[in-house]
Structure formats: C-alpha cells, structure tokens
C-alpha cells in the first residue's frame, strides 16, 4: 500500500498541456489532475460536453491486459459478468467482488483478439491488480499491467465528428465496442464508451504520443472540442446516474444494494463461481435492507456526501454518498442509500444540511437521459 500523504503526486502525460491551458490542478488518486480550467469552470465545461464535445485526460486510470487461452473463464472467477460470451471487440461494465459480495472495484472489460483489456479506477489499480494476480497463481493466464499508455476520453454529441476527422473508422464503431485504429497516424485502441451519458470514445494511446494527439484533436476541432476537468466529469457522471468508486460503492456495498445486480446475468447467477456469488444470489432472491437511489433536493441547496437522510417522521433512513449540482438538470442532485422501504421513486424525504431539514425526494436515475448511439 502507498501512503497518499507521503507519496509524491504522479503526473499524467498531459500534465504540461493542462498547465499551459490553465488547469487548476488538484490531487486525485495520487495524481496531479485538472479540476477545471482557468476562465472556463466546471459549469461551462459540463455544458460544453453536453452541447459539443470535451476531451478528458483519464490517464490516471489503470490499464492492463489479461492474456491466455483461458483468460475469459479465469476472469469469470473474479467478476459476475458474462465474459466468455463477450464477442471480440465488445466491452462490458462489471465488478470485482470479494467473498462477502462487496465491490472491490468497478471496471470495463473489452474482449480483444489476443487478450482481455481492462480499465480500472486510478485509486484502486494497485489493489485490483494485486487481487487479480493472486488469483492467477498456477494458471496459464497472465496479467500484464500497462504503464506506458495514456487514456483520453472524448465525450459529447460532436465527439464522433471530431474524432472521425483523424480516425474515419471511429464513426463506425458501435456503442460498447472497441478496435485498434490509427488516430492522426498514431496506433490507438479506440472504444465507443465513456462515463458521461453522452456518445463518446476512449482512446488508449502510447504515452509518448498523448500530448501531440491531444493537441491535434483540440486544435483542429474549430472549438467543438475543449478540455474538461474532473469537476465536470463528476457532475456529468452524477447526472448520468453512474457510481463513483469509494463514494457510492465500496467493499462494504454489494451489487444488489448498489442497484448494479444487472451486471450479473442469468448464467452467472445460476452457475455462480465468483467471490460472494452465494450472498449476491441470496440478496437477489430475498432482497436487501438498503438500496442505492437517486435523490433530488426540492430546494436549491446541494447535499454532499455523508448528508443524513431522514423520513418525514424524522427517523434516519440513510445517507447521501455523492451529491452536488447538475448544470444540465439545473439544480441540485445526489445519490445515496436508503432503507429499502423508502427506495420507491417520489418517496418524500428530508436531507439534514447544516442542521436543517431540507425536503427532497427519491428520484429515478439517470437524472439526464443517456444519449448513446444505437
């Protein structure tokens, strides 16, 4: 384990570009990351993403390959998704679980011709890779951690147009699929995916080429593509109803509590064979005591993580796990866990912000409709 207090912050390959373009840098998961950019700000960056397209540096995330003839069945011993049934070039959101059914991390698995390609959370990558490696002992499957590739996300309705100018094949990619292709002459793994609820792409590129590639994409977009920071990434994912690991999900929450049981398909429920499968199956069959839900404050005050949720009788029923302001929604929004009997949408609740009860209601997610390509 590294100690975040003493470990020097790492830099992504786009560090100099962030500084040049006015990045307000902040420590995040052991990295210097841009929270937003001078003269623009989180709301402007958020809105630009929904209206045009934004470039996010997500190079801090962990990338790895799992190699071997049995890689898919071996990975299925660690996650609840159908990996063996994943067609070449297709990708899937899944969860690494522990023996108690808790979530070690959420990740994206892509089936390539020669490997399974994994993208995991920055703050969890060391733990994830150690956990996966420990399970590979005495197996002919190998985990190759990729330390020399950057990851750029282009998100928004104009993402396809912006990227296609440098990688014509990108426009033909289906949602949640990936392929190797040249982007402005650089060999990249391009997937049609993201974490904003918008159409978009993630581009895994050699770190030596990342800054040049980012500049080419930005400079030739006629202003359609702009950099956006972690602040906008957070408000976008919140509006899209997506979990932030460490806030909304962790090792003490199960996929069923987190409303992520959909990531475990029928075959995996029946066959089991992944950590915590029996507990997760039992929870699917018999229910759970608490559930992750969307919460909409009815006033204007945002409710942040750890805000207490009470029912209308004043009894504590749960806690906000992440919350803030949704620029597209035009108001505050949050997600959190409530006792299951209060998880129905439109259930009235109170949020205790600075000692005062603020009325809110349980809301359907996503807060802002996803706009993926069909």
């Amino acid at each position: 384990m590294t100690n975040p207090a003493t470990e020097p912050l790492k830099r992504t390959p786009l560090h100099a570009l962030h500084l040049e373009l006015g990045g307000k840098m902040t420590p995040f998961a052991g990295y210097h990351m841009a929270l937003s950019y001078q003269g623009r700000g989180i709301i402007a960056e958020h809105n630009h993403t929904r209206q045009k397209a934004s470039l996010f540096d997500v190079s801090h995330m962990g990338q790895a390959r799992l190699r071997g003839d049995e890689a898919a069945s071996v990975l299925e011993t660690l996650v609840g998704a159908d990996i063996q049934g994943l067609a070449a070039g297709k990708m899937r959101y899944t969860l690494l679980t522990n023996e108690a059914g808790g979530i070690i991390d959420d990740l994206i698995v892509t089936r390539m011709d020669d490997c399974l390609f994994l993208v995991v959370n920055a703050a969890r990558k060391e733990a994830d890779f150690a956990h996966i490696s420990a399970h590979l002992k005495d197996r002919a499957t190998e985990l190759e951690v990729i330390g020399n590739r950057a990851l750029l996300a282009i998100q928004g309705p104009m993402a396809a147009g912006v990227l296609a100018a440098h990688a014509p094949r990108a426009a033909n990619l289906a949602f949640m699929s990936a392929a190797w292709m040249e982007v402005a002459g650089v060999h990249c793994l391009v997937s049609r995916s993201g974490y904003t609820g918008e159409d978009g792409f993630e581009i895994s590129t050699p770190e030596s080429q990342a800054e040049r590639l980012a500049r080419i994409l930005l400079e030739n977009s006629d202003g359609d593509l702009e950099l956006a920071g972690l602040g906008a990434r957070d408000s976008l994912r919140l509006e899209a109803g997506f979990c932030l690991y460490g806030a909304d999900i962790d090792e003490a929450t199960t996929p069923v509590e987190a409303a992520l049981a959909w990531t475990v398909p029928k075959r995996r429920r029946i066959e089991g064979g992944f950590p915590g499968a029996a507990i997760i199956n039992d929870q699917i069959a018999n229910g759970v005591a608490r559930k992750r839900v969307g919460i909409r404050p009815l006033g204007r005050a945002p409710a942040r993580a750890h805000t207490e949720i009470r029912n209308k009788n004043g009894d504590p029923i749960g806690e906000i796990t992440s919350g803030g302001f949704g620029p597209t929604l035009g108001g505050p929004l949050a997600m959190g866990y409530v006792k299951t009997e209060f998880a129905k949408k439109e259930t009235p609740v109170d949020l205790i912000v600075r000692g005062k009860a603020h009325p809110a209601e349980v809301a359907a997610m996503p807060f802002v409709a996803h706009r993926y390509v069909k």
Binding site: L35, G41, I42, G231, R300, A301, R304, F325, P327, P332
Partner: protein, 124 residues
C-alpha cells in the same frame, strides 16, 4: 464616509456609517468556482465577530461565511436566491451577502485595507 476593509477569510466589508455590507472578494470567487447556492443569515440575527453567518456552495464544495464584526444582520441580498452566480459575476458589487450593524467600531481597525489585502493574497 465609505471605507472598504478586508478579512483573512477573503470577505470585503464596506463601511457606511454604523452599517457595513459584506461579500467575498473577486479572488475568493475565483477560488470557489461556479457558485450555485448561498445560504444567508436571518435578518435581525445578532452575531459575534467570527461567528458562522452563512454558506456559499459552488459546484464542487461548500465554504463558510463569517461575520467580520459583531452586530445585527439588517438586510440580506435576496437577488442571490434567484441568481447565486452573481457572486461570480459581481463579487465585489451586486453579489454582496448581507448588511449588518457595527456594534464595536474598534473591531474594524483589525481588518486590512486594500493594499494590505492584495499583499496578503500575493503571499498565498
């Protein structure tokens, strides 16, 4: 006579006779980022210098507002209810938070003038 004083918490205090108007500086609004909500004290509330007077919420985080002197809240800026972004666009003007009486004028002496505040910010 009008004088504008500044606090270490990046508030400006415009003194007009026995009443002062309080807001945050342009430096503070830049640090806060996009303001989406401001919680203000109730009119008539008496506060001691340094007491929690309100909260400014940006997209990312909440920050506290303190009473720069002791006194009674005489007026709050209702325009911030509908347009909290005034704190960003007009921090040292239309984005003011509240007005309060000055119970102990001597407390003003401990606040900074503009030159001292600019030097303070430059040293951060």
């Amino acid at each position: 006579m009008t004088a504008i004083k500044y606090t270490n918490e990046h508030e400006w205090v415009r003194v007009e006779g026995e009443v002062c108007t309080v807001g945050v500086t342009d430096y503070a609004q830049q640090q806060l980022g996009d303001v989406v909500f401001v919680e203000l004290p109730e009119t008539g509330k008496r506060m001691n210098k340094g007491a929690l007077a309100g909260t400014v919420e940006s997209v990312k985080a909440a920050s506290e507002i303190y009473a720069p002197v002791s006194g009674e809240i005489s007026e709050t800026n209702g325009a911030l209810d509908d347009d909290p972004a005034l704190v960003n666009s007009a921090a040292e003007g239309g984005g003011w938070f509240f007005k309060m009486t000055i119970a102990e004028p001597a407390q003003l002496d401990a606040l900074m003038d503009r030159d001292a505040y600019d030097a303070y910010v430059a040293g951060l």
